[in-house]
Symmetry: C2
Subunit: 157 residues, 2 copies
């Protein structure tokens, strides 16, 4: 308790921080690059296709879809526009709410997701699960949770 009022990280803490943020960034980039190379899909494409695949009738209202994957509506709208151009999804009007729309998974989109899924999961295993021991994995869970709590507190307070 001699350091309770410390305002800045020590250089040791800063080193750990930099390693952490650079490594997670590199991991993200490597996964994205493999996904792109193997399936011509971006991470954004993937999460949208995943959500639609799991949805009732392979279709969702944009707002609902955005909520499920934790995106802003605007971001989703841009993403859907790009995906529609490539035939992965289709927009339809919504019967019950004339403002609304529906995003529908096309057969092409479903096929693209099916092809992407296995190599992507393999890559997650190879680059994330495999390098970590069981203890590491448990520690990751604890750390993730602590950081998430810190974020909540930081945004709320």
């Amino acid at each position: 308790m001699t350091e309770r009022r410390k305002a800045f990280p020590t250089s040791e803490e800063l080193r750990i921080w930099r390693d952490f943020i650079e490594t997670t960034e590199a991991l993200r980039a490597e996964l994205a690059s493999r996904l792109q190379a193997e399936s011509s899909l971006s991470p954004g494409d993937y999460v949208v296709l995943l959500a639609l695949s799991e949805a009732e009738g392979r279709r969702l209202r944009p707002s609902e879809l955005a909520a499920r994957i934790g995106w802003e509506r605007s971001r989703l709208s841009h993403q859907v526009r790009r995906m529609e151009r490539r035939g992965l999804v289709r927009r339809e009007e919504c019967a019950v709410d004339s403002r609304g729309a529906e995003v529908v998974l096309t057969d092409e989109g479903a096929a693209a997701f099916a092809n992407a899924s296995r190599p992507h999961l393999r890559a997650i295993r190879e680059l994330f699960v495999h390098p970590l021991s069981e203890d590491d994995l448990a520690a990751t869970e604890r750390i993730t949770s602590a950081l998430r709590n810190g974020l909540m507190a930081g945004r709320g307070a």
Copy 2:
């Protein structure tokens, strides 16, 4: 060793992965948003200004600068163009190599970095260091290192 040949992550492992990647992403976004709000700087601005601040004579050749922060030259070139427009850095011709250039930190850029630095370090402490125990921090270091090794192996092999 009953699972050595497993190709895909279990749903438990997948959950940990998703939490991990979403949380690190949220952390990155929160830091970026605070930096922007407090100092009108992007993370890219910050690392460039940091590198130039520490450089001999507050100036660096683009290639050298890119190497120090681990960026591609092209990315840096775009970044410098944007920063030059805002007066944070200046481009000069290089005396010893007529192909080359030099990126020079302006007084404005130095001031912007000085103003940004303290709140940014405070935010890193608040959102990363503080939520983690000493053990967590040590575990983070181990995990980071394991993931980095996994990346090396994955890219090389």
